[in-house]
Symmetry: C2
Subunit: 333 residues, 2 copies
């Protein structure tokens, strides 16, 4: 198996991308192709000891920054690393693509270069959240700002298959994020999606509320990309604020500082449980080939974990199953 890595995308690129991917080569029995400025990549690669036949480089001189209009940039910058990487994926130069750059550009490259699965209306970004009951999937986490009921149903199918296959979950529960649990609750979109979800072949449990998100009451949480983006970023922001508050808690006095030292092991565990990096990246679901969007601030550990996820994404035939369920799932309901 070969994973294509956009070596230029992300706050810590290319160092984190290369360190994480080399570790993946060493530990996961995979090959990688780095896409980006080959001289920059070569300079980084010198630092590592790795099986040379498993690592290759494809040159791409341009990058798409966070300030560019994604679809336009993907169309015009033919030599940008994400565009070259997406073309490589499309043409069989690798089995999956991992990228940590401009989210919009990754979505646009997935849609415009790699293309949608047949019958799939809109690809969606899915994110694993570290909830009280373990990792749960939020879909759409930001790809589609305005959605129709049919989109949400397809997000349900895709999320269901992804978490079932990649996270080894049996009969996952699927819910709609709404402003109340009862069937009648919701805005126009969620109310119209409810009866369609009810007829789908996955294990639909109805509406869930915001408070269920981090409680982990449901395995696959479906919403439009506007709401998903707001939820995800609210959680990120609160994680940051609470992290600082926990720090303050121990900086209160000499006594609490000693308390903090004694609690080191507990704090480590706390941080680990709140760490986005442990689940790797966010899969873009609905494209013809596997694409994983890594967090912009990914370090080498996050890149490695995203590679673990990408490997499982490929191995467990997520895309074939999505195609089948989209084009026949509703009839089996």
């Amino acid at each position: 198996m070969k994973i294509i890595i956009d070596a230029m995308g992300g706050d810590n690129a290319p160092q984190a991308q290369i360190e994480g991917a080399i570790r993946a080569v060493q530990e996961l029995d995979i090959d990688v192709v780095f896409v980006g400025r080959s001289n920059v990549i070569a300079e980084e690669l010198i630092k590592y000891d790795y099986p040379k036949d498993r690592v290759s480089v494809v040159n791409a001189n341009d990058v798409i920054t966070n300030h560019e209009e994604p679809a336009k940039a993907v169309r015009s910058k033919k030599n940008a690393s994400i565009v070259v990487a997406a073309n490589l994926l499309k043409n069989g130069g690798g089995d999956a693509l991992l990228a940590c750059g401009n989210t919009g550009a990754i979505l646009a490259a997935g849609l415009l270069v790699v293309g949608r699965i047949k019958g799939l209306l809109r690809p969606a970004l899915a994110t694993l959240l570290p909830t009280a009951k373990g990792p749960k999937l939020l879909i759409d986490a930001g790809a589609n700002t305005n959605c129709r009921a049919e989109n949400l149903v397809q997000f349900g199918y895709m999320g269901n298959i992804y978490i079932k296959n990649v996270m080894d979950m049996k009969n996952p529960t699927v819910g709609i994020v709404s402003n109340g649990e009862e069937e009648g609750k919701g805005d126009e979109l969620t109310k119209s999606a409810y009866p369609l979800m009810n007829q789908a072949s996955f294990n639909f449990i109805g509406n869930i509320e915001g408070r269920d998100v981090m409680e982990g009451s449901c395995d696959v949480m479906v919403c439009d990309g506007f709401v998903g983006n707001v939820i995800l970023k609210t959680i990120e922001g609160m994680g940051h604020v609470v992290g600082n508050m926990v720090k303050d808690m121990f900086m209160h006095s000499a006594l609490t500082k000693i308390g903090g030292l004694l609690t080191t092991k507990g704090i480590k565990d706390f941080k680990k449980r709140m760490d986005y990096r442990s689940y790797g990246g966010a899969p873009l679901l609905g494209t013809k080939k596997p694409i994983i969007k890594g967090h912009g601030s990914s370090d080498a550990t996050a890149v490695f974990n995203a590679a673990v996820q990408a490997k499982k994404f490929v191995e467990t035939n997520v895309i074939e199953e999505i195609e089948k369920s989209i084009n026949g799932g509703e009839r089996n309901g």
Copy 2:
């Protein structure tokens, strides 16, 4: 000043309502009227020592539970405590109403019994959030599931005046909660609201993102009630989960338990900073008279703090200013 208290609404009613309100009578120089089953209220009141001439009771035999359809219940249950209390407010039997029961019923009583401010399209629920930069206002926190751009603009006016007057904030900043900071980002609603907000006479700073909510980047955060409900409950749920994780952090081993004991002061401070009770309740803005919705699980402290807020709501002429700004504010922009 006289505050009307729905003595029957809330998880800890009537004990918490009566204890908190009696403390308010003793400390805030206000009168209170309790509305509810007079025999039950009388039994509670016996426990306290208070100036008898400042406390009265209005009997109401019915209650509206959380399982009833709010508007229907408000229309049919003429003797429900929230309906009697709203009529009392409307007819000058008090200056403000504080209720901790069924949110929908409080909204319906506000709308159907007390009525909207002239020119105001839709009242909204506003909530003070304990952010990293102190209390900030989220509006609408759940009253209006489907909104138009004009509603968001009016929420901006109301939130601006409330936080300015009640929280003594000079020239508060107002932002739209969206899925990106740039002007072009957003769903149809937020994109159409942006130019209207830009023309308004308050200090509009553009879009904010989910991560800004708990960072406190903006004083008044405007959104529709669906998004507001999801944000609020996501924060509540995460607060609960993180609270448990902090507990686990100290329960890790004998050493971390001692760490916890040494950190007691810090933990107390942490809990206080995350405590919803310190800001009292959520004002319903846009009705002709002040209504405060207390949290369903309010204890006596939360009821007392909500009474502090209700008093300031009345004293600072929030409603008069809202009426003026709604009916002339846009011309001053």
